[in-house]
């Protein structure tokens, strides 16, 4: 039995990699979405940069330093009161660039007081393209000050820190959604096309003359789809890292969600193919179901921004929960919510799979 499943899987794999355009579109579709939407919605660094400043020195020297920075056209300076806990502030306001002027800043400028070095801390969200610009602006000021007060000796240094507690930007929201979308489109369309094609060209008939069972054949297809889906997911994560500096973790909850989602949407494809026998009409039907779902399930824009009637539509779509489970587990690190969403996906998967197996039958008569 396992052998038959493996033989069928291997046959499918060979055929898949030989159909070059299928391979291309399977992998390229999610990447195009990411690159396109990522480019449109991520902060490109054009316009003003918001620079938050917490002045712990609160001296004349530091005030004039801040004023110099504020005079730069491209910088929009926002001061943070020195009594505020910075980490909490970052959590609440999610700034992308923060400059911390240390308490001992003014001493560096006291002539004859020896060389009191002081360090400016620049905390940046590395996913923002404006990050390095902000850093070089601050760094440039520090060097000028060094020249002026100490003849070029490094009295003022700059240190760079990350803002890890940032609110997530669009691409963080979007990439897990694209992974969710990929599990749906890849498997649903594969199943629809393979089942209608094999029924119409007689391959199913030939398979029924052999001992392989329907369940074994379906298992081989779903396993093969998991291979394809995980290849796509790997490529998506790598491109996300390279192009947008995102950091996704592919943990157990995410992996299980991807598997469940692939099973659910494979089964959905099976059910469509059961009722619509012609390959073109069947894939048109698959389009008619997946295309609206892609928008209504909050893949491109958070469902929380939808008007309430639309949000309640999102609540009944399986893809919504796949997207939520993946965002919660891969990006927000909110595991309890991720598991809850994953369980909803599991329920959809079981219902669709059972319906699919019961409805699709091989024997013509």
């Amino acid at each position: 039995m396992a052998n038959r499943i493996l033989v069928a899987l291997k046959g499918e794999a060979k055929g898949f990699f030989r159909a070059k355009s299928t391979v291309f579109w399977t992998i390229a579709f999610p990447l195009l979405l990411i690159l396109l939407f990522g480019a449109i919605f991520s902060n490109t660094g054009a316009g003003k940069v918001d620079l938050y400043v917490q002045d712990l020195s609160d001296s004349q020297t530091s005030h004039s330093f801040v004023q110099h920075i504020a005079a730069i056209d491209s910088v929009n300076l926002i001061e943070i009161n020195k009594t505020i806990d910075l980490d909490q502030y970052i959590k609440d306001h999610s700034p992308t660039a923060v400059l911390v002027i240390p308490a001992n800043f003014a001493q560096a400028f006291v002539p004859g007081a020896g060389l009191n070095t002081t360090t400016l801390l620049v905390r940046l969200d590395p996913t923002q393209q404006s990050a390095s610009a902000v850093y070089s602006i601050v760094n440039g000021f520090a060097e000028q000050a060094n020249l002026a007060i100490a003849g070029g000796t490094n009295v003022i240094t700059t240190a760079r820190g990350d803002i890890t507690n940032t609110q997530f930007n669009y691409i963080d929201f979007f990439i897990p959604g694209v992974i969710a979308l990929t599990t749906m489109t890849t498997t649903a369309f594969w199943m629809v096309s393979v089942m209608t094609r094999y029924r119409n060209n007689g391959i199913f008939k030939k398979l029924t003359t052999t001992p392989i069972t329907r369940a074994e054949w379906l298992a081989s297809q779903i396993l093969w789809q998991l291979v394809v889906v995980f290849i796509s997911v790997g490529v998506i994560i790598i491109v996300g890292m390279l192009a947008f500096n995102t950091h996704m973790t592919l943990n157990a909850v995410a992996i299980v969600t991807i598997i469940l989602s692939s099973a659910a949407f494979s089964s959905m494809g099976m059910i469509i193919a059961r009722f619509i026998h012609d390959e073109e009409s069947a894939s048109a039907a698959a389009n008619a179901i997946t295309f609206p779902m892609m928008f209504l399930a909050g893949i491109f824009f958070p469902a929380s921004q939808f008007p309430s009637w639309l949000a309640s539509v999102a609540n009944v779509l399986p893809l919504t929960y796949v997207g939520n489970a993946l965002r919660d587990s891969m990006v927000y690190n909110n595991m309890s919510s991720a598991v809850g969403n994953m369980l909803v996906v599991a329920v959809f998967a079981i219902i669709l799979f059972v319906a699919g197996v019961l409805l699709s039958k091989w024997k013509t008569e």
Partner: protein, 321 residues
Amino acid sequence: MSDTVIEVEGLVKRYGDFTAVDGINFTVNAGEVFSLLGPNGAGKTTTVEIMECLRTLTGGTVHILGMDVTKDALKIKNRIGVLPQDFNAFDLLTVKENIEYFGGMFDRQLPADDLIKAMDLTDKRDEYFKNLSGGLKQRTGVAISMVNDPEIIFLDEPTTGLDPRARRDVWAVVKSLRERGKTVILTTHYMEEAEVLSDRLGIIDHGKFIALGTPRQIIDTHGTGSRCIISNCDNSCSTALKGQWPTLESKGGDIIIRLENKNALPEIIYALDRSGGNYDQIQVTRPTLEDVFLALTGKKLAAEETESNDGKKKRSKRRGD
């Protein structure tokens, strides 16, 4: 008498109210080529697919290698080979990979290279299935159907839609299967094919056998006897013949006379000689299965010329079944 490998008794198949197979009986012996000959929709595929355990039966019993099709489907499938009607394999796998794929579905399998050699496909071994001609696809199909070293091989219309040359190729394949000692069940609507290839055959129409036996037996029992054709008879010839055989047919300048007994031919020649008239030649034809079918049903078996044009359309329509 050799072993009986197939026994079909009172087989009935209904699709709803429609009776597709209406109580047929036959047996097939080991090593025989047995054909089901009949027009479109006669019930050939229904009959063989019940034997292959692909369809359920409504009535009667079918035993394959001593096993009941309603009880031992899996065991039977392991011991038979099937080339379904309108066969297709995986387009983007090669001939060899396709054979290995289907081989992998069985408990035991023959080496693909042996089958490739046996089916004379060595040149095409690494060719994608989709790039093969119709005849080569069918040969690949036969190779695949032999992959589990079956005792019985079912070929459902293996030559429909093929050009005459490819059709002869498939005939050679069927003969080679017979030489290997396989039992072959063949369906066709080409009477010539059935006549050339079969040891025995059943002519099926509207789900019933209208004749069963060796080609010779069927022709002798149901045939209309041999006919003599005298081409380009002049007037004095035809007058002389018409006097003696009032029932003769004349077609253009040709005269056709049914030979009712063995004296008929010498008598015709004597009459022609005496008339002193002119004619081109005398020809004697044996009746064919086509004539038998025509005589039994009053209709033609198959319109061979239109078949190849219609083949595709007819097939794609049937897929919706």
